[in-house]
Symmetry: C2
Subunit: 226 residues, 2 copies
C-alpha cells in the first residue's frame, strides 16, 4: 500500500518507519522540504535533525505535504495538533478526498505552561474539527493515546497485551485501520463509535501526561480489562 | 475506624457498605434526612429508594452532612460533582479540618446533553477546587475512574488486576488512602502526584463514558501496563 505520512517529528518518523518495515511505500510530508533538510540541530524534543534520520531511511520518500498526501492511498496525520488543520489544508482537499485519514494528533496547547492543556475538549475534539473541515475524507482517530514507539510496535510493552482505540464515522475505514493496527501488532482494538467519541481518547491525554511523570517513562499503555 | 460518607447515591451506598463490611463504623450523610427517607420512587439512575436500601443496612448510621462529617475520622465525598462544594460547606469546615477527605466526585455537567462534559478541566479540577476551598483538609482524589461496584470491590473485574489512581498534596494522607484501597482489594495503586494531577483522572471520564457505551457494561477498568 502507498502511505502518506504528514509530519516529520517523532510520531511521523516512527509510524513511517513501521509502515515501511511492513512493505508499504511511504512518503513523509512536511511544510518546507528545504528548511527541514537545512536544520542541523536536534529539535525541541531532542530528536536528531531530520536530514540525519533521513539518511538512515532511504526507503522513505520525502515531499511537501501535498506530495505526501497525493502519493498515499491512505494518509496519516502525525502533525502537531495545533498545526494539523493548516497542514491538512496545505496537503489539499483534492489529495485527501475519498481516502482514509488516520488522525494521531492531540490538541495540546503548550502555551498555557509546562503541563499542556487541550485547546479543544468536552463538547468538540480535533478529530471532529478535521472531519468537519474535510467532509469527504474518512477520518479515523487512533494511536493518539501512547508514545510513538509504543504506537508503532505495541510488543515493546507487556508483549502487546494492551488497548488502542478507534473512532470514526465510516465502518469500512475503521475496519481498514483495524487491519493496519493488527499488522503493527495490536491485539486489542476497541471501536468507541463515531468521530464524536474522539473526545474520549483526546481528553485522556492529561492523564497520560501525569502517568508519564509518575512512572518516569513513556513506555507504558493502558489495557481495558473486562 | 469511623468513616463519614457524604452522598446517598450509588457511590455513597457502595462505598459505605464496603467500609461497613470491613468493620468500620459508617455514617452516611445527606442534605435533608426527612426528604430522603420520604422518597418512595427509584431515583433518576434507577436505584431503589434510599429508605428501602437503608432497611437492609441497619449497620450504617444516617445523618445530615454535618453529622456524617463530624462522626468520621475520615470523610468520603461521594456527592454529585456539581453539588460537591455546597455539600462540603454544609458538612462544615469545623467537621472536616485536619481530616483526610477521599474525593470520588466527578465534575460532570449533565446540562450540556446526553453525554455529559466536564464543568472544570484542563487548567483546574474539582479536586483542586475542593482543596482550595478547604485548605486544612487533606484532599485525596481517588476512585473516580470506575463504577461504584468496581470501586468497592475491584475483584469483580479480572480478579482485581487493574489500576486506581491517587492524587493529593499530603503524602501521609495518600499512604492512609492507599492502605484503605488495599483493604478494598486494590493491588495497583498509582500515585500521580499532588492535587493538580487530579486533572488527569477527572479528564479520563469522557473516555470512560465512551468505553461504557462501546462495551455495554460498566464492569470494566483500565490496567496501566508497564
Amino acid at each position: 500500500m502507498r502511505v502518506g505520512v504528514l509530519g516529520t517529528g517523532m510520531v511521523g518518523r516512527a509510524i513511517g518507519t513501521r509502515f515501511a518495515e511492513l512493505r508499504n511505500e511511504v512518503t513523509i510530508g512536511t511544510r518546507n522540504v528545504e528548511a527541514l533538510l537545512a536544520r542541523t540541530e536536534p529539535d525541541a524534543m531532542g530528536n536528531e535533525p531530520f536530514a540525519a534520520w533521513k539518511e538512515q531511511h532511504p526507503e522513505i520518500a520525502l515531499g511537501m505535504f501535498a506530495e505526501a498526501a497525493a502519493a498515499g492511498e491512505l494518509v496519516v496525520n502525525a502533525t502537531n495538533g495545533a498545526g494539523s488543520l493548516d497542514a491538512l489544508h496545505a496537503a489539499g482537499e483534492q489529495n485527501l478526498n475519498g481516502k482514509v485519514l488516520i488522525d494521531i494528533a492531540n490538541p495540546l496547547d503548550a502555551s498555557r505552561g509546562m503541563l499542556p492543556s487541550l485547546f479543544v475538549s468536552n463538547t468538540d475534539s480535533l478529530g471532529e474539527q478535521i472531519q468537519r473541515a474535510f467532509p469527504a475524507v474518512m477520518v479515523v482517530k487512533a494511536l493518539n493515546t501512547m508514545n510513538a514507539f509504543v504506537m508503532a510496535d505495541p510488543s515493546t510493552v507487556a508483549g502487546g497485551q494492551h488497548t488502542v482505540f478507534v473512532s470514526g464515522n465510516d465502518d469500512q475505514a475503521k475496519a481498514k485501520v483495524t487491519e493496519i493496527l493488527r499488522s503493527f501488532g495490536w491485539r486489542d482494538v476497541l471501536d468507541l463509535g463515531d468521530i464524536t467519541t474522539a473526545r474520549g481518547p483526546e481528553m485522556y491525554l492529561p492523564l497520560w501526561i501525569r502517568m508519564w511523570g509518575a512512572l518516569g517513562t513513556g513506555t507504558f499503555n493502558i489495557s481495558v480489562v473486562r
